[in-house]
Amino acid sequence: MLQADNISFVWQQAPAARRRDAPDAEAGIHGVSLRIGSRSLVGILGPNGSGKTTLLRVLAGILQPARGRVLLDDIDLRALPRARLARRIAVVPQETHLAFDYSVLEVALMGRYPHLGAFELEGPEDLAIARDALRATGTDHLERRAFSTLSGGEKQRVIIASALAQAADVMLLDEPTASLDIGYQIGIANLLARLHEDRGITIVIATHDLNFAAGLCDSLVLVRAGRVLESGPTSEVLTGDAIERLYGVEAEVTYHERARHLTVVPLRKLAARGTTARTGPS
């Protein structure tokens, strides 16, 4: 179980120097407590700048919380050595641009890093695990291709395969469908559902896509201005009222018979409430 115990993180640097590659990273989080049970599939929803990415990075142990602690099976993340942590928690960033022309198999093999000693080379077993991860994400036929020549959806799948090769039991994904068309979005949703089902991986997804979250996640955490607004089972949390409070948007939430999950249709933006996180209610 992954548990956040009253965690806070505030960015101290000047606005100009903030990370440009992660727009949400500038938002801090304040006194967030969460319990993510083993084998659960959790979505984190919130407007731009609400602190979703920061929360995800703190949960992953990439950022150290200024206050509070993150516990993995009752052990403080700070007490875990890097490699051991990486064997438990894998992260899929929003978008990946490789600085050099690695092949797909090489990217998948990078997931084996925490399982190897400093000067150890990947053995047949690592290769088998990497290939299995590529098969599970439907990218095994691309193994020899250069990563840079893949489409956005293929890249995202390969990065998920690389995280899968880590053999971690928790996977955190930041906006996995952000720049993908609906075909790829459904593909990623099916893939994550299958990994969750077949391998029992705990999956946490930060996303803007309400229908993606509604169809996939069994529970949701709503984050606004760095605080948890609400959390619980998707069917209880995802209401028109919650969306109005979260985004300042009037929306209709209905159960779709054929999709067999809740669907959200945004209707109009409410003028009275801005969506700017830092001026919002807290």
Binding site: Q12, Q13, A14, A17, R20, D21, A22, R57, A60, G61, I62, L63, R82, A83, L85, A86, R87, I89, A90, V91, P93, T96, H97, L98, A99, F100, D101, Y102, S103, L105, E106, V107, M110, G111, Y113, P114, L116, A118, L121, E122, G123, P124, D126, L127, E143, R144, R145, A146, T149, I159, S162, Q166, L172
Partner: protein, 347 residues
């Protein structure tokens, strides 16, 4: 579809990375050794290979051996050392900055070194260190100064080391130091200016083995630190968050990469001056041949860099013979167009 070499397991199931590493190191190593042995044979005076290595003739009577070992071999060895240092430092800087167009000189190391050398040439009296040649020492300390400034800027007010600030500070420092260099040059007399300009061209015309032995320890220390890096550098290419979540100590990797590559660059520049483009041409040629894995690219670039600069220097010595050009002119003439080709190819 672009094909990438390697990846096939052989029948015994031996991992292909190991085989690719061994193949690359042996092939590039042979090339480097061949260049090192052949280069001193080429020159205005023709040498007889058999006579050079004929130990039955006393050394003082063996003119061929004297020219080989005293006049030409030091220059080839200096070329090999500088070439290996700049090419491998280029690989490390490119991985650190996640920018394939970075060079060992991007972060201001060479500009700092140049300023140091300039000061030593222009104000020789103030730098009479006991028996130690002032120019290489001053250039090394200039490099250290530049490295210190850039690092301080990039690590201030950040969680970790900001490669963005690193890059911008380096580029800015380069132009600021260039202004200081012009200022110092303005104060210099004619002969000092000439020496200055010659130093900036990058030359391997070392007198004997002394300067090589002086630069060797620092280079070896830096290259030894490189051995720790390749796997982590591979992961850095994914981005710092992805690397950290896979168990890489990102900050430590960045620090080791930055300081060891700077050290190696500083030592190389103090020996041969700022010889340009080796640090970008060689890593790219090597990547085209062996792929992107730094465990192969790094040693292969060091060996290929050594061979490449030695061969370029043979060209420098013989192209306008008996005139001996500074090798920096040759590498720049090859490297400039190559760099432009890379730019066009990437976009």
């Amino acid at each position: 579809m672009k094909r990438y070499p390697g990846h096939d397991l052989d029948a015994a199931g031996i991992p292909s990375v190991r085989r690719r590493m061994v193949t690359a190191i042996v092939a590039f190593g042979l090339f480097a050794v061949a260049a090192l042995v052949m280069a001193p044979l080429v020159g205005p005076t023709r040498l007889d290979f058999a006579r050079v290595f004929d130990w039955s003739i006393p050394f003082r009577d063996n003119v061929d051996a004297q020219i080989f070992f005293v006049a030409r071999l030091p220059r080839a060895l200096a070329g090999a050392l500088v070439g290996a240092a700049l090419a491998s430092a280029g690989v490390v800087f490119q991985a650190l900055l996640r920018n394939p167009l970075a060079t060992p000189f991007t972060l201001g190391v060479s500009a700092g070194a140049a300023l140091g050398a300039m000061l030593a040439i222009t104000f020789p009296a103030s730098l009479h260190l006991a028996g130690i040649p002032a120019v290489p020492v001053a250039s090394f300390f200039g490099a250290v100064g530049a490295v210190g400034i850039v690092y301080a800027l990039a690590s201030a007010r950040h969680h970790g080391l900001s490669t963005e600030v690193l890059l911008l500070a380096g580029v800015t420092l380069n132009s600021f130091f260039s202004a200081l260099i012009l200022f110092v040059q303005y104060l210099a007399d004619f002969s000092q200016t000439l020496r200055t300009v010659r130093w900036l061209m990058g030359d391997l015309d070392v007198a004997g083995y002394g300067p090589i032995l002086a630069a060797l320890p620092l280079t070896v220390v830096g290259l030894a630190a490189f051995a720790w890096l390749p796997r982590s550098l591979n992961l850095l290419a994914l981005g710092t968050d992805a690397a950290a979540s896979r168990g890489v100590d990102v900050l430590r990797t960045q620090r080791v990469a930055f300081f060891s590559a700077s050290l190696v660059t500083g030592a190389a520049v103090s020996l041969g001056g700022p010889i340009g483009f080796i640090g970008i041409v060689v890593p790219h040629l090597v990547r085209l041949m062996v792929g992107a894995d730094h465990r192969i690219v790094l040693p292969a670039s060091a060996l290929f860099g050594a061979a490449f600069l030695v061969v370029c220097d043979v060209g420098a010595r013989t192209l306008l013979s008996p005139l001996e050009l500074p090798v920096g002119i040759i590498t720049a003439m090859i490297g400039g167009p190559f760099f432009l080709w890379l730019l066009v190819r990437r976009s």
